[in-house]
């Protein structure tokens, strides 16, 4: 088979395969060149090489302490919002009244900038984990409620008729039909939420914290350790990306049927 492939086709395939990586490497090299040849000072825009040096200069255990602080808050907020959002969506799907009462309230919460509310929450709940978790929760749960409710309401009417024709109790209609049907929707909500959870945790750390990657970035910036701030920022992005990927892995592992079909 392989021999019949024209060489041009093979080249095209390889380019397609490596293009995203090559683009990224090219971008970093360009950045490095601009900084080195343009003599951009480190405190304005550090070169990638000095960011790496800065990263290595910080002890590993310190990185882990900050990482754990951020991850802990992000994950606690994320799971708390799952625990709140799913039952809330079921309630809003089942009861028209509940939907009418709660939906406007949710929109008000969603459209209020969390950055503006964060200091007030700190005043209210103190400077410990509870307030940071609440801030994270506030920012993550709206996409979850929306996606779960949408998924459950989009259940095809014939599936609901199947349930009705069996005179099954309504809780089974919810658990055996509507929730599984909503799984792909719930997971797209979870993918949005997990990245928002990191944002929430960082926002909380910007307002009040003694550790965490958000705190580390802010602290480094205020001491003009710009390469170190960049190192923290890039580390944070990688963590965020990994979390996003893990949500996909969990979906692949637990609900393989819910993934879009391969061509």
């Amino acid at each position: 088979m392989n021999q019949t492939y024209p060489f041009k086709f093979w080249c095209k395939q390889q380019v397609n395969r490596f293009a995203p990586g090559l683009f990224f490497i090219g971008l970093v090299l360009l950045w490095e060149c601009i900084c080195v040849f343009g003599k951009v000072p480190n405190y304005i825009l550090p070169a990638p090489s000095s960011i790496i040096t800065a990263f290595l200069n910080v002890e590993f255990s310190r990185w882990m302490t900050h990482l754990w602080a951020t991850l802990r808050v992000a994950l606690m907020g994320f799971f708390l919002s799952i625990i709140i959002a799913i039952p809330l969506s079921i309630g809003m799907m089942r009861s028209e009244l509940m939907n009418r009462v709660l939906y406007p309230a949710l929109i008000v919460i969603q459209s209020t900038p969390v950055v503006a509310v964060a200091p007030l929450i700190i005043v209210l709940l103190g400077t410990d984990d509870p307030s940071r978790v609440l801030i994270t929760c506030l920012i993550t749960f709206f996409p979850l409620v929306v996606s779960t409710t949408t998924g459950m309401l989009e259940t095809p009417p014939e599936m609901i008729e199947l349930s009705k024709s069996l005179r099954a109790p309504r809780y089974r209609e919810t658990w055996q039909i509507r929730i599984p049907y909503a799984i792909p929707h719930i997971f797209s909500g979870l993918r949005v939420s997990i990245t928002l959870a990191i944002i929430g945790a960082v926002v909380a750390e910007f307002v009040a914290a003694e550790e965490g990657l958000g705190y580390f970035i802010q602290f480094s910036t205020s001491f003009f350790k710009i390469p170190q701030a960049f190192a923290g920022l890039i580390f944070l992005s990688i963590i965020s990306l990994l979390l996003f990927k893990s949500v996909q892995w969990v979906q692949m592992w637990l609900f393989p049927w819910s993934l879009p079909k391969k061509k």
Binding site: M159, E161, L162, S165, L166, A168, P180, W257, K261
Partner: protein, 267 residues
Amino acid sequence: MGPVPNKTDKNLTYVSLKGVGHKYDPHPNSPMVVQDIDLDIHRHEFVAVVGPSGCGKSTLLRMVAGLLVPSHGSVSVFNLPVTEPRDDVGIVFQKANLLPWLTVRKNVLFPLKHKYGRYSSADEVRANELLEMAGLMQFADKMPDELSGGMQQRVGIVRALLLNPDILLMDEPFSALDALTREQIGFDLLDIWREHPKTVLFITHSISEAVLLSDRILVMSKRPGTVMDLIEVDLARPRTSKTINSPRFAELTDIIRGYIYEPNVPV
């Protein structure tokens, strides 16, 4: 459920529609979807309903299924008015309507799981027997989307047979399939029906399908759907591909086609 009917009684009317009409909007000036439908279906009879799209065929089926309460007239099953879905009535839906998160076997067992929350190993044996009969055993552990459309609909039929209903309601079950698959699954259905005789109400918009499968055909007019004719299909059983080529088959399809395409012909 009231008095239990003697289902072996030859004279028992399985499904009875008397002056049935329906409108979705209760306003007095709103249009009727179906009107003045009278129909009696007896034990192990196969009755097809044909008519142009939107003539209320599916509405009729939903009223027999107990999913919809008619606004006019009465629908009864075993001489009891239909107020809610019954255990002895099974439904085969338009698209196979399988749950994509369950394997084929679990889809077949779903009615029990959904109705009672569990099923026994004896139920699993029965599900396997049904799958075997429909030639689906080798796909029992596959997911629905790994099956072709025709096989999916066979699973839909098998699922409807799980609770061993006396009456099977089929709502344009083959309309999503291509012509070749459609003809094949029609013959498959006749085989299944011979092994598990049921009283069938079969909704379709395919004239030849109705003639091939049924004992009687209710021809409906366009909206508001009324009865244009009730045709006796006097073709010998078992029916095969030869039946399709017989002159009588052509005659019957022509009669029905006449009703559908020239709706002003007096009945």
